[in-house]
């Protein structure tokens, strides 16, 4: 049983890495992406190709994957953020971007198209995944609890006022996007070396939306909330196995229920965010305040 639980956990943690990245972007700048699966894919393919064809060291490959995903995020982020696309427009643009990436992966030679890359070495053992996840969470937390996170929040809250505080909207948003893409890329690299076989069809828009769902259900502007949500979302389908074919019905139902009953997220609106911020805010009243 532990073998199986470990497996589920490892995949859940790999997911957590991407979710944490997305939480930094969506939760803190207020923009949401429906194309993050593309960054995971890019990370996965870059890392896998590095170890598979070029026998690059696994950890170097992970970094390469993250970096590549980050670079690609600039391709979509630079023009769209420069043009100041807003919420749904930005989301649809990223949705389109995600699909486009998948088409390209399906057509490239090096990725072997839809047939995918089988036989990737399994390096992502449980301890490796655990350690990488903890590192990513730590770094993300630091990011968020620094001026960079604070500026992002300001932009999310009121971008006009933020600009008037001397904040460069474009830089702040792009930086967060880049960070989240790197996380997704690292997650993708781990994933490829866990599952040992990747295909473009594994990185769909549905996956992107599930990532966003975890961030929102966990609580915008929180890191721990989305982590919890990602873990819970990974656990629900497994726990519901008994329900057989009804399990995904229940899954959808639970998702709606979370939003309806706790629209501020599982743990409430940014339960952790600034409150614990280097001991800054000690007796805040915000802990329980809703987003109303």
């Amino acid at each position: 049983m532990w073998y199986y639980v470990q497996g589920v956990l490892a995949l859940a943690m790999i997911n957590v890495i991407s979710v944490v990245g997305l939480a930094v972007f969506t939760g803190f700048t207020g923009l949401f992406s429906l194309g993050h699966a593309a960054f995971i894919a890019i990370g996965a393919y870059t890392a896998a190709i590095s170890t598979y064809f070029y026998e690059v060291n696994f950890y170097v490959a992970l970094l390469l994957g993250g970096l590549m995903a980050g670079l690609v995020s600039l391709i979509i982020g630079y023009p769209t953020l420069k043009a100041k696309l807003r919420s749904d427009y930005f989301a649809i643009a990223t949705l389109g971007f995600g699909e486009a990436v998948r088409v390209i992966l399906e057509n490239l030679d090096i990725t072997q198209g839809a047939r995918g890359l089988p036989g990737i070495k399994v390096y992502s053992t449980f301890p490796v995944v655990l350690i990488v996840t903890l590192i990513v969470i730590y770094v993300a937390r630091n990011f968020v609890f620094s001026r960079y996170g604070r500026m992002a929040i300001a932009v999310r809250e009121d971008f006009t006022a933020a600009e008037m505080m001397g904040i460069n909207l474009f830089k702040v948003r792009l930086r967060s996007l880049f960070f989240s893409a790197v996380c997704a890329g690292v997650g993708g690299g781990l994933f490829a070396h866990y599952i040992s076989f990747i295909q473009p069809s594994m990185f769909t828009g549905v996956q992107s939306t599930m990532l966003t769902a975890a961030v929102v259900a966990g609580g915008m502007g929180s890191i721990t909330g989305p982590i919890a949500a990602a873990l819970i979302f990974a656990a629900i389908p497994e726990v519901l196995r008994v329900a057989n074919m009804w399990r995904l019905v229940a899954y959808g139902f639970i998702l709606v229920a979370i939003m309806v009953l706790r629209p501020q997220g599982i743990f409430g609106y940014k339960e952790l965010s600034w409150k614990t911020f280097s001991g800054l805010v000690r007796k805040t009243s915000r802990a329980k305040g809703g987003a109303a």
Partner: protein
Amino acid sequence: MTVLEIRNLTKRFGGIVACSDLSFQVVQGEIMGVIGPNGAGKTTVFNLITGVYGPTSGQIIFRGQEIGGKRPDTIVETGIARTFQNIRLFKNLSVLENVIIALDQKHVEYSLPRALLRTPAVSRSEEKLRKLALDYLGIVGLEDKAYQRADSLPYGLQRKLEISRALALEPTLLLLDEPAAGMNPEESLELAGLIREIKNRFSLTILLIEHHMDVVMELCNRIVVMNFGEKLAEGTPEEIQENPLVLKAYLGEGYKRA
């Protein structure tokens, strides 16, 4: 010394000319009032100065530098800060954080890689910021509200927070857009005192839009009166109060007080 010079400034929104061939100058250390009927274009002038809009034509020269059409964040860097007619705080953040954000540009002493690894320098810098922010809150008397959510403050205190946040940007020119709106006469006078105090303490130059005439007359060295986007009059408070054009367009013939 002239700090800000507006030269033939014009701004059109479609058919509406919100600001038309406007020129005036602001001198170092003065409080200049901008008054005029509703829709005269006062806020638009502020928006042009702070880069919210780009001018249709004309120039805005701040300390010898043309700033018309630049991005707001670069304009802030040159030393201009403002408050908003419709309050724009970061509502979900605490009062303190609102001020810290203003401090983030000039007072932070760490780079992104350090932030990611959270070196001791980061914590030190953050602690310094917190202290500094509390100082700024102290100026407007909000330090005991530092940890409340900004939007739970009553209207009047929100205005004060906006002022304190603007001060934290360390401007040399401060633009205040109807700071006394929604205050009763007593509170307005108190606010006027505060404005004078910060002006002296930080040696600011202030541009003030206000409809509360007591405040304007009390504070301003000079006043520009706008009407339909144009300059209707300019002068000392005494001159303005006597000006028949101003009385007719803005104050009302019955205006007698002070």
